[in-house]
C-alpha cells in the first residue's frame, strides 16, 4: 500500500488531499505511480506539469525514485515559502 498526498494548487484541482493505492507492486518508481494517476485523465493532467515537485517519505526526490510497499509520497507545485 502506498499513501499519496497532494498539496496547494494540486489539492484544489484534484479535489482530494490524500488517497491510498493498494497495488504497491505495480509502482516501482514515483514516475510509474504518476503515470498511473495521469491515466485517470481530466483534472489529473495537472500532474503532467513541468515544474511538479515530489517527495518520498517526506524527503524531496526526483521522479525516478524507487518505491517500496508502505511508502508515503506527495506531489505538489513549486514551493513558494519565505
Amino acid at each position: 500500500m502506498i499513501r499519496v498526498q497532494y498539496f496547494a494548487r494540486y489539492r484544489e484541482a484534484l479535489g482530494i488531499d490524500a488517497e491510498q493505492l493498494n497495488d504497491a507492486a505495480a509502482f516501482t518508481t514515483l514516475d510509474a505511480l504518476r503515470l498511473h494517476l495521469l491515466a485517470r485523465g481530466g483534472v489529473w493532467q495537472v500532474l503532467a506539469e513541468q515544474n511538479l515537485m515530489c517527495a518520498r517519505n517526506q524527503e524531496l526526490c526526483s521522479l525516478d525514485e524507487p518505491l517500496v510497499d508502505g511508502d508515503e509520497v506527495a506531489f505538489f507545485p513549486t514551493v513558494t515559502g519565505g
Partner: protein, 148 residues
C-alpha cells in the same frame, strides 16, 4: 539550532536579541526577516494564506539548517516560519545565524533563505481583488539556490 513553524505572530526584535544572549563567544549575528507585501505581480494583495506539509516542513528546515552548520562555523541557527492566515505588513519568516566572525554568519543566512525558498514545502495563496491566487515559483529563486 531551533526550528519553529507556527501560526502565531512573532517579534523579530525580540528573536534577534535572544540570538546572542548568554553566549559571549558570538561576534556576529546576521538575520533576515521576510514580510507580507500589499502587492505582487501587478496586483493588490489584501492578505494571504500559507499552506505547508506538516512533518515534512520541519524536517526540510532542519536539514537545511544542518547543511549550513556543516558548511560554516556557526554558533546558533534560528528559523521561524509562519503558516495560516497573514495580513500585509506581518513578518512571515525569520532566519538568523550567529558566528564568531561576520562572513560565516552572512553567507549561512543567505544560504538558508535561498534553500528554504526552493526546498521547504510552503505554498502562498494571495487574496487579490480578482479572488484568491496561488503564487507561482520564480526562476530567480532557483538560480539563487543554485549558486551555493
Amino acid at each position: 539550532m531551533a526550528i519553529r513553524v507556527q501560526t502565531a505572530a512573532f517579534d523579530p526584535g525580540q528573536e534577534l536579541n535572544a540570538m546572542h544572549a548568554a553566549n559571549a563567544g558570538v561576534g556576529a549575528v546576521v538575520s533576515f526577516v521576510g514580510y507580507v507585501r500589499d502587492f505582487n505581480d501587478g496586483r493588490d494583495v489584501s492578505g494571504m494564506f500559507l499552506e505547508h506539509f506538516p512533518g515534512m516542513t520541519e524536517k526540510a528546515l532542519g536539514k537545511i539548517a544542518d547543511e549550513a552548520r556543516q558548511r560554516w562555523p556557526l554558533l546558533k541557527v534560528q528559523v521561524i516560519h509562519r503558516i495560516g492566515r497573514l495580513e500585509p505588513g506581518e513578518p512571515i519568516v525569520f532566519v538568523a545565524t550567529t558566528s564568531a566572525h561576520r562572513q560565516a554568519a552572512f553567507d549561512a543566512c543567505a544560504f538558508i533563505m535561498d534553500y528554504l525558498k526552493t526546498r521547504a514545502p510552503f505554498w502562498k495563496q494571495e487574496d487579490t481583488p480578482e479572488g484568491p491566487r496561488w503564487v507561482e515559483g520564480k526562476c530567480s529563486d532557483k538560480d539563487a539556490a543554485e549558486r551555493w
